[in-house]
Symmetry: C2
Subunit: 436 residues, 2 copies
């Protein structure tokens, strides 16, 4: 019996294109859904991707979620249907589109297995997931229910934490590039995550499609060397770059306090990070060998966390301030005008130590902050704190925000300094700008 024919829906996406590549690489006749002109618009990147699939030997199948009959015709061409429409809210959330596909598969009657868009945490284990991120799992469960009620054979692939987001940012929420200076540690940083390279997710997924051992069940991808806490991930990066990072703890309260400043998609993401890094949804996950991809397919040489991080090793990052601040000529200040407790900040998390002193604001008498802005924190050079802002010529970063956490004065010429501040290097002044 020859290899199954595979149809991939959402094939031009981040996961989808890897599924197309893996399907072709494993010798399957591969079909990719191509949406109509009206849905493609003038997206030349999408057309370029479709053309490249064709050049690699895939077949393009015109179909649309808006045209039910085309879905039926498309699935009739193949044995296996894999859907990779986005369930990552910051990109788009299309999980429930699959309900039409499920109907089409049921009507066509020929599909031997359907792999729905899962590829994350096991939706069935996420009944206590935090809102609004729970919507991801609720919607995936709706799709599963439809699949099972329709009697369609399936495999659900739970790939836990997608490496590009999690490892790229060293498990820091909202970041996808690893820092070289300091890192925000969520909670105590000791709860485990399970990180999988996207290419490996695709490889394992294609491995499952013809495998009777994976029929009608959930398969988990838990590469043993990739089950690590955030602190352990950070250690691996520190070893790679030969340098220790300054660690700033972000408590659960401060982390969640930032939620209201985020849009819906970001809140969904924040919920997922909360569930794993603060509630430890993955930390006690125990999966039998018969349900785990790296045990089922030991021939796949999965990418370890070190190997994944290695590719970021020369992606050094330039820290860019939001705007500069007029100051004494021998001191340069930079201000980040964002919410301090927001993990989306590039620089600084909230600091909760007791203040050791008050310092006149640089340029006092000539420099004011906007109403409602709170000076959140300041990084200064390694000089003992004094009662005068007699700092050597160096860079000083003042973090301004709208949060009142940790600071008691909204708008004044005085700053609160804390003892664990460190000097930030590699910053330059942007020129000056009056604070409105």
């Amino acid at each position: 019996m020859g290899k199954s024919k595979v149809l991939i829906i959402g094939g031009t996406g981040y996961m989808g294109k890897r599924l197309v590549k893996a399907s072709l690489a494993q010798g399957h006749e591969t079909y990719v859904m191509q949406r109509p002109d009206t849905e493609i618009g003038v997206d030349i990147d999408k057309v370029e991707t479709l053309i490249s699939f064709k050049k690699q030997g895939a077949h393009l199948v015109p179909a649309s979620f808006e045209d039910y009959k085309s879905l039926v015709e498309a699935v009739k061409l193949v044995d296996i249907v894999i859907c990779a429409v986005s369930g990552v809210h910051i990109r788009s959330h299309s999980i429930l589109l699959q309900l039409k596909l499920v109907e089409a598969i049921k009507e066509a009657g020929n599909v031997k297995r359907y792999i729905p868009s899962e590829f994350g945490m096991d939706a069935e284990k996420m009944k206590n997931a935090m809102e609004p991120g729970k919507v991801t799992f609720d919607d995936k469960m709706v799709v599963r229910k439809a699949i099972e009620e329709a009697g369609i054979p399936f495999t659900y692939v739970s790939a836990n934490c997608i490496a590009a987001y999690w490892l790229g940012g060293l498990c820091q929420f909202g970041k996808i590039l690893p820092p070289r200076d300091h890192v925000i540690i969520h909670g105590d940083g000791n709860l485990k995550g399970i990180y999988v390279n996207e290419d490996d997710i695709a490889t394992y997924t294609i491995k499952t499609i013809d495998d009777p051992r994976t029929l009608n069940k959930t398969i988990y991808i838990c590469p043993p060397e990739n089950i690590l806490s955030q602190r352990e991930v950070v250690q691996k990066w520190e070893k790679l770059i030969g340098k220790e990072l300054h660690k700033i703890t972000l408590s659960k309260d401060d982390f969640l306090a930032s939620k209201k400043a985020l849009d819906f998609g970001q809140q969904v993401g924040l919920s997922h990070y909360h569930d794993i890094l603060y509630e430890g949804f993955l930390t006690s996950l125990k999966i039998g060998d018969e349900d785990e991809a790296s045990k089922l397919y030991p021939e796949v040489k999965y990418t370890t966390v070190e190997e994944y991080l290695e590719q970021y090793n020369t992606l050094t990052s330039l820290i860019r301030p939001s705007f500069s601040f007029p100051n004494h000529t021998d001191r340069q200040c930079k201000i980040f005008n964002t919410t301090p407790a927001s993990p989306l900040l590039p620089e600084i998390a909230s600091v909760t130590q007791t203040p050791i002193g008050r310092y006149p604001f640089p340029g006092a008498g000539g420099t004011k902050f906007s109403r409602g802005l709170t000076i959140h924190s300041i990084y200064y050079s390694d000089t003992p704190a004094t009662n005068q802002m007699d700092l050597p010529s160096s860079e000083v970063i003042i973090h301004v925000s709208e949060s009142k956490t940790n600071f008691l004065h909204p708008c004044s010429d005085q700053l609160l300094l804390f003892p664990d501040w460190r000097r930030r290097t590699a910053c330059t002044v942007q020129g000056t700008q009056s604070c409105k």
Copy 2:
């Protein structure tokens, strides 16, 4: 003397990534600007592209347009700087960002040549370009002025019509996939365009950078076999697919009438198509051999229009209607609820022949259109027009729009039919939906 070192700005973009590829392919030590975390955000596609550049041997240089010093440091590393920031409004318009780069290059003092983001029509020849598209050329001229006043050596690459937009859509504005049924011809369709494959634009650009013959001048890319009118492009496609397309003429007035329904970016694009297809800005372009890339570099086997179109040959397109229309059971109707004269319509351009008769609207008595909707045109099967809507069981498409052009009744149960209507095939009914 070794090959020049090259820095590419905007390297992760559509043109930029091709420049990176061409620069590496032609043996140049290649640097790519990598923007800071704050600017990359959670764009995993961009990070993926940067990592892939690194794997191909490029160096990544952290820099930002918001950090002048970083620009100076970046350009100091190389001999040649090429900028490919977007000037295509529907993606983004960043042409004037280059002014900071020009300052940085001037300050650094080492750059042997700057290739600014041009790659389209020669901005200097576009003083009579239509608004608002003229902004593209005005901004490019501002940058040129800055370059020349700073005494920076340069080459401006004029690549005319980028193939992905122009050839992909057979020169139809707003389309990037070639049709198999009918095509909208702009004006008489006889004015010339000059179409260049993006990869060739990159190849030629890299060829120019060390070439004394191209110093301080504009180099045009006009591959002789790619200087064609829209009708000629259409003919090439028809030959490829072995089928003639039904041609619908879109007059300049109707084309321009659609402008008000478009957003700014789309209006810019419309202006460019107007300049070439209705005003013939390229049709009489005469370039000396010493200024033309395909003559300067005959060793480059550029992609002809046929070769470029060939890759679209199996990209068949599914036409999807906006919504269906309840009708007699033996007839299926589809309605496109968009502005008819808009070239962004997937289907139909305005029709200007004299009506030959009036027909009762299908389902008269039970079907109403929204207020303000005009029935624009109807495609029906090849049956002589009669005074009764006695159409055979086939598909009928009714195009509904808000334009009053060509039709005299805003909302009624009667249609105006024209003699040159043709049957549209390959459509399916979406089910039914009452018209509000």
